[in-house]
């Protein structure tokens, strides 16, 4: 069970730099912690984030153990034409979560 929150403006003027925020619910378990019985809690992390705008990559990030749970990313994109921004998160096992939002450029 995960939830994703995106903050992307719905409209922009051509050439404008827009702020994009993406938040996902994930434990980002580092693999370095131990449970109450001393057992190692297995690593469970997102390893890759990508954002495509009009099908082209505009931002990407590799995640490593040590990044806090429920990671929030804020980055900036230059608006050119109307179209979708697609967001994907991939975990260490290859599971993928994605979400899109559309931007109208005038």
């Amino acid at each position: 069970m995960t939830s994703i929150r995106l903050a992307v403006p719905e409209t922009a003027i051509a050439g404008e730099i827009i702020e994009v925020k993406a938040l996902i619910r994930h434990p980002m378990e580092s693999g370095h912690r131990r449970g109450s019985r001393g057992e190692v809690i297995e690593r469970d992390i997102i390893t890759r984030f990508e954002c495509l705008y009009l099908g082209e990559q505009v931002f990407a990030a590799d995640f490593h153990p040590g990044i806090a749970a429920n990671p929030l990313l804020t980055f900036y994109v230059r608006a050119s034409r109307s179209g979708d921004l697609e967001f994907t998160w991939t975990d260490q096992h290859g599971a993928i979560w994605s979400e899109a939002s559309s931007l109208t450029v005038s």
């Binding site: 069970m1 939830s3 903050a7 925020k21 938040l23 619910r25 980002m28 806090a68 749970a69 929030l72």
Partner: protein
């Protein structure tokens, strides 16, 4: 919490000489009552107030989805609560006439779950119950806490007050000593707040998750090396009622961000 209490108990034990008799126990002065969020640093407070980036809203979102999703057997919450439940959380815990018991918000939600939806109650601290409680409480964001402790709730309120004022655990400390008599002072890395429940369910950075008020109470009991009560225990519900009455005037912050 255990490490923290260890260091601190020495200072506190010498600093506090309050008795546990109810009569001469100091209370918070009405004009001094403040939420724990005033002791947060400015970044953490800004995160709480950012209704996008506050990670507690990940649970609120899920709660909102659950609210309109019909369970297998009965109608969805939204079918009967079309206008939502604005203001309700600020009045909980409250006495429920049908079952003759004081219920906290989680208990009241589970009551509807069982009697109105014919579904099994959600377990305390399950993702579902935390999410829906956060969603319902968030609808009272900014509403001043106002519980009714008269009539049949009175006896329960008094049980909660006694729990608050009784010393316990290997450190022999009461809630009262930390949260009424020493709030505002530093306790290792933290500033002691007045111990209100107005931010819960809250996202604690230490938990890296949302958690209920009972989880926080269990942490405080464990911190003085007392045996914590089980989640949903009626004694914690009574304590919750006392805390809510004691918080009169401050408003709901759910989902609060706490260290």
């Amino acid at each position: 919490m255990i490490r923290l209490a260890g260091l601190v108990s020495i200072t506190l034990i010498t600093a506090c000489s309050a008795t546990t008799e109810v009569s001469d126990v100091p209370e918070l002065a009405a004009e001094d009552i403040v939420s724990a969020s005033v002791f947060l640093n400015s970044e953490t407070r800004a995160l709480q107030e950012d209704t996008f980036a506050n990670p507690g809203y990940l649970w609120v979102d899920r709660g909102e989805a659950l609210f309109s999703q019909p369970p297998a057997a009965g109608p969805a919450c939204i079918t009967c609560h079309e206008k939502g439940l604005r203001g309700v959380a600020a009045t909980y815990p409250a006495y429920d006439e049908n079952i003759g018991q004081v219920l906290n918000l989680e208990g009241r939600i589970n009551q509807c779950r069982v009697t109105q939806q014919s579904e099994p109650a959600w377990t305390f601290e399950s993702d579902e119950l935390l999410s829906i409680t956060a969603y319902v409480a968030n609808q009272s964001l900014g509403e001043p806490i106002s519980v009714d402790v008269n009539g049949p709730a009175r006896a329960v309120y008094e049980v909660g007050r006694d729990y608050f004022q009784t010393r316990r655990g290997q450190f022999n400390l009461s809630c009262q000593q930390c949260h009424t008599e020493n709030w505002g002072k530093r306790l290792r890395g933290d500033t002691l707040s007045q111990g209100h429940g107005n931010g819960f369910p809250a996202y604690r950075l230490e938990w890296e998750s949302l958690g209920s008020l009972h989880r926080r109470l269990r942490d405080c009991d464990t911190g003085v090396r007392a045996e914590p009560l089980p989640y949903g225990d009626p004694l914690y519900v009574a304590l919750e009622l006392y805390l809510a009455e004691r918080s009169k005037g401050i408003s709901i912050e759910t989902p609060g961000i706490r260290r």
